[in-house]
């Protein structure tokens, strides 16, 4: 556990950290976020004493770190920086073993650590251990950067915008990997970023800073639901969900264009329609336009030859809802039901539309990213 008590720091006239007091829980991934110049990196670096506060105290597991030896403190805290900072004059193996070697682990132990570490990120020892950083891609380099921080199994790992320089794909991959490693080893990770997506993807807790002050400490959920002020709301931008725009009833997100057929129609006609529209089921109506059921290409293929109309093949195994049914209830029905979509009916039992899994995803995406519903 890391505890800040009234920590302040200024450079000349500008106040970088203004009387910060907060706690970071052990075993959690805490993200420090905020606009540039908010003091997030400075806060991070006071934890391994790369920066010394002007006043106030920082405790790790109850111990005042200003009273510990800087060098051994840092050996007990993993550190990953944005520019990666793998030593170019050392191979991957040597880079990973920097801290274990400083701690004077013996050769066999170091060797074992390198094998274990490379295995964690699926980089085979034989292929990578003896390469130099310049021979690796950016993503691979930062993986090794993370491994270097983990090698001596420190309980705390500090990460300073570690994925800022990577392309979005690699960044997402590495975020997932770090979260996976964190869950596995129960590390206390303090992670600085200015990217809200990254914060939401990874964090157990978000500390939002601005101008040297903490504006809000909350879980991602809480912060989404109740951002403390407008700055945070703006920062979250696309993430803040507008509850008004969420689909309320089935009619908000159903497809109204449905391929239907009367149950008195011939089998061959049904097959022809499915083939033309590239679909595998048709919604079937009674002669009075009320819903009768569905017919699938599978049923037709298995027994179709024996009948002339589709009527005997109609099944009622698809879930059905009415247009004003609660959206959430529809989602659940669809997700639990065996059909690949849900049929929505008007109150006179005529067919109003269908809800597919894709339409759920789309309507949620529209609500989250504010897309228009065409």
């Amino acid at each position: 556990m890391i505890r800040f008590e009234h920590v302040s720091k200024s450079y000349g006239d500008s106040l970088i950290l203004n009387d910060l007091s907060f706690e970071i829980k052990a075993g959690e991934l805490t993200v420090l976020i905020g606009p540039s110049g908010c003091g997030k990196t400075t806060t991070l670096k006071t934890i391994n004493r790369l920066i010394e506060p002007d006043s106030g105290k920082i405790f790790i597991d109850g111990q005042d770190i200003s009273k510990t030896d800087k060098v051994s403190l840092r050996r007990s805290i993993g550190y990953v920086i944005q520019q990666i900072g793998l030593f170019p004059n050392m191979t991957v193996e040597k880079n990973i073993c920097v801290v274990p070697k400083l701690l004077q682990y013996d050769k066999d132990k170091c060797n074992e650590i390198v094998h274990e570490m490379l295995e964690l990120v699926d980089m085979p020892y034989e292929d990578y251990a003896h390469k130099y950083p310049s021979e690796l891609s950016g993503g691979q380099q930062q993986r090794i950067g993370v491994l270097r921080a983990l090698a001596a199994s420190p309980p705390i790992v500090l990460m300073d915008e570690p994925f800022g320089a990577l392309d979005p794909m690699t960044r997402t991959l590495l975020q997932d990997e770090v979260v996976r490693l964190q869950r596995k080893f129960k590390k206390t990770i303090v992670f600085v970023t200015h990217d809200m997506d990254e914060a939401f993807n990874m964090s157990d807790k978000i500390i939002f800073m601005n101008k040297g002050n903490i504006i809000q400490i909350a879980t991602p959920e809480e912060m989404l639901a109740n951002p403390a002020d407008n700055l945070i709301r703006n920062f979250m931008g696309s993430h803040s969900i507008d509850r008004e725009a969420l689909p309320q009833t089935a009619s908000d997100f159903m497809h109204t264009k449905v391929y239907t057929s009367y149950k008195t129609r011939g089998i061959r006609e049904a097959i022809d329609l499915m083939a033309r529209k590239s679909i595998d089921t048709l919604v079937v109506k009674n002669p009075d336009d009320t819903y009768a059921g569905t017919v699938s290409i599978k049923a037709i293929r298995e027994q179709g030859r024996t009948y002339s109309t589709i009527e005997p093949l109609v099944m009622q195994n698809y879930e059905v809802s009415y247009v004003d049914a609660d959206a959430q209830e529809c989602f659940e029905k669809l997700l639990n039901g065996e059909g690949s979509y849900l049929v929505v009916l008007n109150h006179d039992d005529t067919i109003a539309g269908i809800v597919t899994k894709t339409s759920i995803a789309k309507s949620l995406a529209d609500a989250v990213w504010g897309g228009n519903n065409e």
Binding site: N48, L50, R74, Q83, G85, F87
Partner: protein
């Protein structure tokens, strides 16, 4: 040709040996002083900004003048010529060591500190190895220069290949001039090759490209 070797062969071999020894000793001494000084200066860039230009001005004093002055104080012994050559050889190595160390990117120094290296460990494990390509380049420049400066030793009667060149010039004997100049040129090339080899041994090829 064979007559020349019969007449001067032994003398030439001694001259080459002497010349070689002057270069090796002076550069070795210069290297140690320059690396230590360059390292100290890299810790104090403020001092470096005034000290390095001062040394470079000193570098412009003609070798002949300087050796002459040293000769007055130290007398006619190999120490005089080695002192003079060392002092001249210091500057390129010093400057390259200093620049190499100062230009080690901040990210590596921060990573080293963040990993828990003491400043000594950071220096020996990270900063100096990264500055090494630059240091070795300085060594090469100094060595090649020293091979030619060592010719001046003949001026105060201390042997080396300069003997051949000076007596060739004063007696208008081209053969003698060439007999001095060619081994000196070859020696410069050989030293340069040896240093290339050293560089290959010390610096992994993966970082040689980025090194200057």
């Amino acid at each position: 040709m064979s007559k020349f070797f019969l007449l001067y062969g032994e003398k030439l071999i001694i001259a080459i040996g002497t010349h070689f020894a002057y270069v090796v000793f002076s550069v070795a001494i210069a290297f140690i002083i320059a690396v230590v000084l360059g390292t100290l200066l890299s810790r104090k860039p403020n001092w470096a900004n005034s000290i390095i230009p001062l040394i470079s001005v000193f570098q412009t004093i003609p070798g002949i003048v300087f050796i002459g002055i040293l000769f007055l104080y130290l007398g006619m012994k190999p120490g005089t010529i080695i002192t003079a050559l060392s002092i001249y050889a210091i500057f390129p190595i010093l400057k390259n060591t200093y620049v190499g160390l100062v230009e080690v990117p901040e990210q590596y120094k921060e990573a080293a500190r963040g990993c828990g290296m003491s400043s000594m460990q950071s220096f020996f494990k990270v900063e100096f190895p990264l500055a090494l390509p630059s240091v070795i380049n300085g060594l090469r420049i100094s060595t090649v220069y020293t091979v030619s400066w060592a010719v001046l030793s003949a001026m105060i009667g201390l042997g080396g290949l300069g003997d051949f060149i000076y007596s060739g010039v004063s007696s208008n004997n081209n053969t003698l001039i060439i007999a001095g100049a060619i081994p000196a040129a070859i020696m410069a090339v050989v030293f340069s090759r040896l240093i290339d080899l050293l560089q290959k041994l010390l610096i992994p090829k993966q970082i040689r490209r980025s090194g200057k």
